[in-house]
């Protein structure tokens, strides 16, 4: 009976994939504003709302080691004073019309995202506030001083946590001199040094219309979207030269293992190395392969070996995080401290087996069915589609990225995965960090 169910699942999965329309999955529109911003738009009138983001190449990767935290602080302070409005004015103007404004920030990108009702009065007030915040931020000195105190407190708090300690050490070992090694929010010593001039300088260099990506989805027309994009990028700083680029990530010269004592009841384990960048030709074999290895939730190999078979962890996973430059490949889990050695061994041998032998044909079929059959779930809300628009825009992915996605997954073979993992993932050259670890042997 059970095998019949699986067979049914497969057949139905195939039909779901086959049912995908041949024409564009999403009517994605793209253009540039006269001042050079790239705009990505999906018109959708199902709900009376609009999502819009404006992002720049201004993430934590552009920080210097001496002043780590400048990029994040610049983004975070945009809405704390602008064009005659103080931080309370800005918050009230948005809340009065039910709008939600948030920072968008990672190692590559920084900017703001707004969700507003699409009705005229509400939309106008929300978008006007966003435009002024982007165009004329004050970076008030008093707010900066207060935020530095808060952030330093939060960093110290975070530094007591085993997961933070594991992650910081992992990134330092995996990325060494590369800015991806830096913590996005900065360090206590670097945040202390941040000045208002640093923020203004960073803003002027990075927040320019020429580098901007505007992503919109919702209840506005093309003509309205064009006007909104112009207004949101009007009056931004002039570009001073070419778009800033991050340096290349050097190959990891050797594996490294770091064990750090901590009194937490669980050890936190991270294993990994620099992985792939956006647009990497190996992306799809690695993505589908990782789905089988540790990305597919309950049915992946790492979860099966660590959790289902042995009960060693609640959460065990692996992922590739493709960035402008080689983002990390990571395997992670947490387990009772005296089991750390066993969990580590299981994770390492699971990885080594996978890299050596690749997946089985059956595993690949199951992964394809899950990814392809589940494709409609990736674009079933404005929020999710908005994420794709911003991603496609920022990384200059093909406009057909979503249509091609299914085809690219279908095309992946067992041999492709084995080949890509052999070339790109070396189990003998991994960074391993264990925080908590086993009790130290009695001296």
């Amino acid at each position: 009976m059970s095998s019949k169910w699986i067979a049914l699942g497969l057949a139905a999965g195939l039909s779901a994939a086959a049912a995908l329309p041949a024409r564009a999955i999403l009517p994605l529109q793209h253009w540039q504003t006269p001042n050079g911003a790239r705009v990505y738009f999906v018109e959708n009138h199902d709900l009376p709302m609009l999502d819009v983001s404006v992002e720049f190449p201004a993430g934590a990767g552009f920080d210097s080691p001496e002043k780590a935290g400048v990029a994040s602080m610049t983004d975070g302070l945009l809405n704390t004073g602008a064009d005659g409005m103080d931080e309370n004015d800005i918050a009230r103007r948005l809340a009065d019309v039910g709008a939600q404004l948030g920072e968008r920030f990672d190692t590559d990108r920084a900017g703001l995202a707004l969700r507003t009702l699409s009705s005229a009065k509400e939309r106008r007030q929300a978008l006007d506030t966003l435009a002024r915040v982007l165009r004329q931020p004050d970076f008030p000195q008093a707010v900066l001083e207060r935020e530095k105190v808060r952030l330093i407190g939060a960093l110290k708090e975070s530094d007591t946590r085993p997961d933070t300690i594991a992650s910081r050490n992992f990134y330092r070992l995996a990325y060494r001199e590369h800015p991806y090694a830096l913590r996005s929010a900065g360090e206590v010593e670097t945040v202390e040094k941040i000045t208002r001039e640093d923020l203004i300088g960073f803003y002027r260099r990075h927040y320019t219309a020429q580098y901007a990506v505007v992503a919109l989805i919702g209840d506005v027309t093309r003509a309205e979207a064009e006007a909104i994009a112009v207004e949101l990028t009007r009056g931004l700083p002039e570009a001073a030269g070419a778009e800033p680029l991050l340096p290349a990530v050097g190959e990891l010269p050797a594996g490294a293992t770091r064990m750090i004592g901590h009194q937490a009841s669980q050890a936190h384990i991270l294993i990994g190395a620099p992985g792939i960048s956006r647009g990497d030709p190996d992306y799809f074999p690695l993505y589908v392969g990782n789905h089988i290895l540790g990305g597919g939730g309950f049915v992946s190999r790492i979860t099966e070996e660590v959790r289902q078979k042995r009960g060693l962890a609640y959460s065990a996973y692996s992922y590739f995080s493709p960035l402008s430059r080689e983002g990390p490949f990571v395997i992670g889990m947490q387990t009772r401290r005296d089991q750390a050695g066993q969990a580590l061994e299981v994770a390492r041998s699971t990885l080594a087996d996978f890299v050596r032998d690749g997946p089985t044909a059956q595993e690949l079929t199951a992964a394809r069915q899950n990814i392809i059959g589940g494709f409609p779930l990736r674009i079933d809300s404005n929020r999710k589609i908005h994420e794709y628009l911003a991603l496609i825009g920022f990384y200059r992915l093909p406009l057909t990225y979503l249509e091609d996605f299914v085809k690219n997954v279908e095309r992946v073979t067992v041999a492709d995965i084995r080949d890509a993992f052999k070339r790109r993932v070396n189990p003998e050259r991994m960074v391993t960090v264990v925080v908590g670890g086993e009790e130290e042997a009695k001296p």
Partner: protein
């Protein structure tokens, strides 16, 4: 205040009751060819008896470990092969099993759910492994998280009789001593069609879903459900306090006032006033707590307020704050209580209230962007005994709240005999030492 309220429910929900008592609630949403489905059992940690805290949650884990016709793990493998995503959640009041999938796969999910409603096996060897996973989950979410420990102690202090005092995941010692028999008994008592609700939001027609539900759940016989005792709290006689020592850098203060939850969506007014008060205190960046305690006085690095209002049992209005480095827990506690005192003395302004209302109206539109969120909201309300048909009524009631009503609930409930306060007392981390490499692993390097 906004002019015209946008239309709330694009399409209405449709409900059907099977002969065995199972309820099916469907909300068509044709924006994408998918369906979000949740099977709710109206049983949660509130129904656990002494010595078996955590059994509702442990059973939720074991629901994925096989039936008379399905091998352990096969539920998830089958849903995954159909392109679906599945998981489950346990709360005080309910346990929910959900999947989001292509609409053509809905029947598959319903068939699997009907199967595990009656045919669960709970194999001892699978239980032995899974209960270790639950212990790891507790370590991850609670034991090593000082603020979770603080919340756990707050609840255990605020309540003496009512089972909401126990953590949903259970006390570690109860988890360690849990037996297969505890789960089987709980399953047999509570997992029945007359204690279940199916909610589906998606690109479906209600009649089709009803037919599928009839087909798969219809043949399951109802069971007599145990009688629940109210376990009401005795009156509180003074402030309750608890301190939690744990490794951390900053102190943390968590305050709970006993307040009512929503019972009658039409006649009640206090829960709506409390909801608006939470929004005035913490609904936006310029709301009172953040503006006064973080931005003006700079005593707190963060401060918040929260009130849910949806619960079968006792409910609370929460306040929390973290002091900035150099300030104490006592100072932020005073700050929080001073702000509550100001509400009692001076009330809130019409402007603050209108802002909170505008946000509530907009939120109701934004929530419709997620099918799963909608399916979840319907079930959460129903599990707490509040009809999902009152969602629009509740918004209308929120819009009617007056400044006087906000002040009145503050006066009535923010008093010492309704108050419990928990302080996290940060302890220094033990000195970090290099740790020996686990044996047998050195060769890898």
């Amino acid at each position: 205040m906004m002019g015209a309220a946008p239309c709330m429910a694009a399409t209405a929900t449709v409900e059907h009751r099977l002969a065995n008592g199972m309820r099916v609630i469907v909300k068509p949403d044709h924006r994408a060819p998918v369906a979000a489905a949740v099977v709710w059992y109206q049983v949660g940690s509130v129904d656990e008896v002494s010595g078996t805290t955590g059994v509702a949650h442990a059973l939720e884990h074991m629901m994925f470990k096989g039936t008379t016709s399905l091998a352990p793990g096969e539920y998830s493998r089958t849903i995954a092969a159909a392109g679906g995503r599945d998981n489950a959640f346990t709360s005080n009041d309910f346990t929910g099993y959900f999947a989001t999938l292509h609409k053509s796969q809905l029947e598959l999910m319903l068939r699997l759910e009907a199967d595990r409603m009656v045919n669960l096996t709970i194999p001892p060897e699978e239980f032995a492994k899974e209960i270790k996973v639950v212990m790891e989950e507790r370590r991850l979410r609670t034991e090593d998280r000082p603020r979770s420990l603080t919340y756990e102690q707050l609840m255990a202090t605020a309540l003496t009789a009512h089972p909401y005092r126990n953590p949903i995941i259970g006390w570690m010692n109860d988890i360690e001593n849990m037996r297969v028999g505890d789960l089987r008994e709980f399953y047999q008592r509570w997992y029945a069609p007359n204690n279940a609700i199916l909610t589906v939001v998606g690109d479906v027609e209600p009649e089709d879903v009803f037919a599928l539900a009839e087909k798969h759940f219809g043949p399951i016989a109802p069971r007599e459900l145990p009688v629940r005792k109210p376990q009401d709290e005795a009156p509180q006689r003074g402030v309750k306090r608890v301190t939690v020592k744990a490794p951390a850098e900053l102190p943390y203060v968590l305050i709970a006032f006993r307040v009512p939850a929503l019972r009658d969506a039409d006649k009640d007014w206090e829960p709506y006033a409390l909801k608006m008060l939470a929004a005035v205190l913490d609904g936006n960046d310029a709301a009172r707590l953040n503006r006064v305690l973080v931005r003006e006085q700079r005593v707190a690095s963060s401060a918040g307020a929260g009130y849910d209002g949806i619960a079968r049992g006792p409910d609370f209005f929460y306040l929390s704050a973290t002091p900035v480095p150099g300030k104490s827990a006592a100072e932020v506690e005073q700050g929080l209580r001073r702000e509550m005192g100001r509400i009692i003395d001076e009330g809130v302004t019409e402007e603050e209230l209108n802002r909170a209302k505008a946000q509530a109206i907009a939120a109701q539109v934004y929530q419709r962007d997620s099918m799963f969120f909608q399916a979840r909201m319907i079930g959460v309300l129903e599990a707490a005994g509040v009809s999902h048909r009152t969602i629009d009524l509740q918004l209308a009631k929120l819009r009617q709240v007056t400044p006087e009503q906000v002040r009145e609930v503050a006066r009535k409930y923010f008093r010492d005999d309704a108050l419990t306060i928990a302080h996290l007392d940060p302890q220094p981390l033990a000195v970090r030492r290099p740790v020996a490499l686990p044996s047998g692993l050195r060769h890898v390097q």
